[in-house]
């Protein structure tokens, strides 16, 4: 038996239908598989087969204390872990009813925007491979390394930072770090123009993604689509503005939107988000207040949380990332429910958008949704 095989399942003559199993051993699907029924080379029906990465976070979280859960739950979305840890911390803060200090809010904003940029750069790598323009992929991963290095200096780790804690952030900004960050931001701004030339305004990308896999605003909202995929349909719905957290209410930024809701719009919304995130970082550095970085929490390692429930959400690089935490008054959560954006984008939306798409365009559709398999499976 092979992993990717094509099987004839019906039809006669030119209207034969085949079944094609894509993934999990595939460059673009990463870690889940899609089973598509094709007629000729047009997809008639797509079914997602997920669950290759299910680790049962929701069960594990019930057996760990609130603090132990931070290093665990950030592993939900691998390319973008900071948003997960922040959302969880915010839910616990709501339960404890504490307000984090101003400096912590600004540092969180900086870290989250850096995380957004590095997630988008990582996505650029995948997207460029999907359309066959490998050069920009090499560049974007190398540029992402600059942010990762800054992360390493700030938090001590490359990918899993475990930095945003319930109550604030763990360490203060080291000396001279903001200057280095400014340098990288300026470098990135220049670099984006080159990206445009080679990739985002490239004819190959435009012809391959313009008009592909369109979705309207009403449909997107009724399916629960969030993030850049929703904004590409033309509405400026961003939870940084709608349900503000960290220092976003004090910062002035615009929200990029698309027009047609097709794959190219989704790509360009992400591209413009990088630029806006760079701007946010600049503003946040300029206005960075001084003061404590941690609100007083009951105990540094171990505390009981008053009974109740709370839902906190952040706008991650992929969409709404939410945590619903229920406490029964003990030191462990009674229930943690993870609401990941990819659970919608990677399953229901993908199955819908893949209809009537050519086989060669499947990776483009898939990557334009920026879907994160570990977050589907949790």
């Amino acid at each position: 038996m092979s992993i990717q095989e094509m099987r004839r399942i019906g039809g006669e003559g030119s209207r034969e239908t085949f079944e094609l199993i894509i993934g999990p051993v595939h460059m673009e699907t990463e870690n889940f598989s899609i089973i598509v029924t094709v007629e000729g080379d047009t997809v008639v029906e797509a079914k997602v087969n997920a669950g290759f990465l299910h680790r049962a976070f929701e069960k594990l979280a019930e057996n760990r204390t609130y603090i132990q859960n931070v290093p665990l739950l950030l592993r939900v979305c691998v390319p973008d872990p900071d948003h997960a840890e922040t959302a969880y911390s915010m839910a616990v803060e709501q339960l404890l009813d504490i307000e984090i200090p101003d400096r912590a809010k600004y540092i969180r904003t900086i870290v989250l925007e850096m995380a957004r940029i590095s997630a988008h750069l990582f996505w650029t790598f995948g997207m460029s491979a999907a359309v066959g323009l490998y050069t920009v992929g090499q560049w974007s991963v190398a540029d992402r390394e600059r942010f990762i290095e800054l992360f390493e200096e700030l938090t001590g780790a490359r990918i899993y930072h475990i930095y945003n804690f319930p109550g604030g952030v763990r360490y203060d900004i080291p000396m001279g770090w903001t200057d280095k960050l400014m340098k990288v931001v300026n470098h990135m701004e220049k670099r984006l123009k080159e990206y445009d030339k080679v990739f985002f305004e490239n004819d190959i990308l435009i012809t391959r993604s313009r008009g592909l896999a369109k979705i309207s605003t009403e449909e997107a909202i009724s399916l629960g689509v969030t993030g850049p995929n929703l904004r590409a349909t033309g509405v400026p719905y961003d939870f940084r503005k709608l349900d503000p957290y960290a220092a976003y209410p004090y910062i002035d930024f615009e929200i990029p939107t698309g027009k047609y809701g097709d794959a190219y719009d989704r790509i360009m919304v992400r591209r413009r988000e990088i630029e806006i995130s760079l701007n946010i970082i600049k503003q946040a550095i300029k206005e960075l207040p001084s003061g404590p970085i941690m609100a007083p929490i009951p105990h540094p390692l171990y505390y009981n949380v008053p009974p109740g429930d709370a839902y906190a959400r952040v706008e991650s690089s992929k969409g709404e990332f939410g945590f619903y935490v229920v406490s029964d008054g003990s030191d462990r959560p009674w229930r943690v429910h993870i609401r990941g954006p990819s659970f919608i984008h990677g399953v229901q939306l993908l199955e819908k958008l893949l209809k009537n798409v050519r086989i060669a365009d499947i990776p483009v559709v898939l990557k334009s949704l920026d879907n994160c398999p570990p977050d589907i499976d949790r």
Binding site: K59, N63, I221, Y237, D309, Y311
Partner: protein, 164 residues
Amino acid sequence: MIEEELVRKIVEVFSYVEAKVKRVRRVEVKVSREKLPEVAKYLRSIGFKHLSAISCVDRPQHGIFELVYHLWSYENRVHLMLKTTIPRNKPKYVTMINVWPNAFVYERDIWEFFGIEFEGHPDLRHFILDYWDDIPPLRKDFNHLEYIKRKYGVYDPEKEYYLR
């Protein structure tokens, strides 16, 4: 305040719901399981179009499952938690796909991890778990350490860490 207005409006229309403001931009509405579908339809018509998630909370000490529908209204910028409870043995509920189409994935998820049947759901099948051979895993009475020991044969809390 928009939250209080909203609570007043909902209580006016449905006298039987319990509604309260939890905190800024967070509203909680409790409703009995028979009445939830009509409240849901009403909420959708006043702008709660985005279903963020459906959470299920297992409370064996009360013998119930709690279902929480997380709704968001883009116009009012309010998050509403619509809560209801269903009995724990032979759990069954109606599907909300006709109100929010993305209830599809969440209901399948809850069926898989809690074992709640949703009447009218077209596709209740194992999506994430592969050949599951025990009670649904997120129920509180599922003993995961026991299961690990049985399935992987390596973990034993009493004796040494690894048996093999």
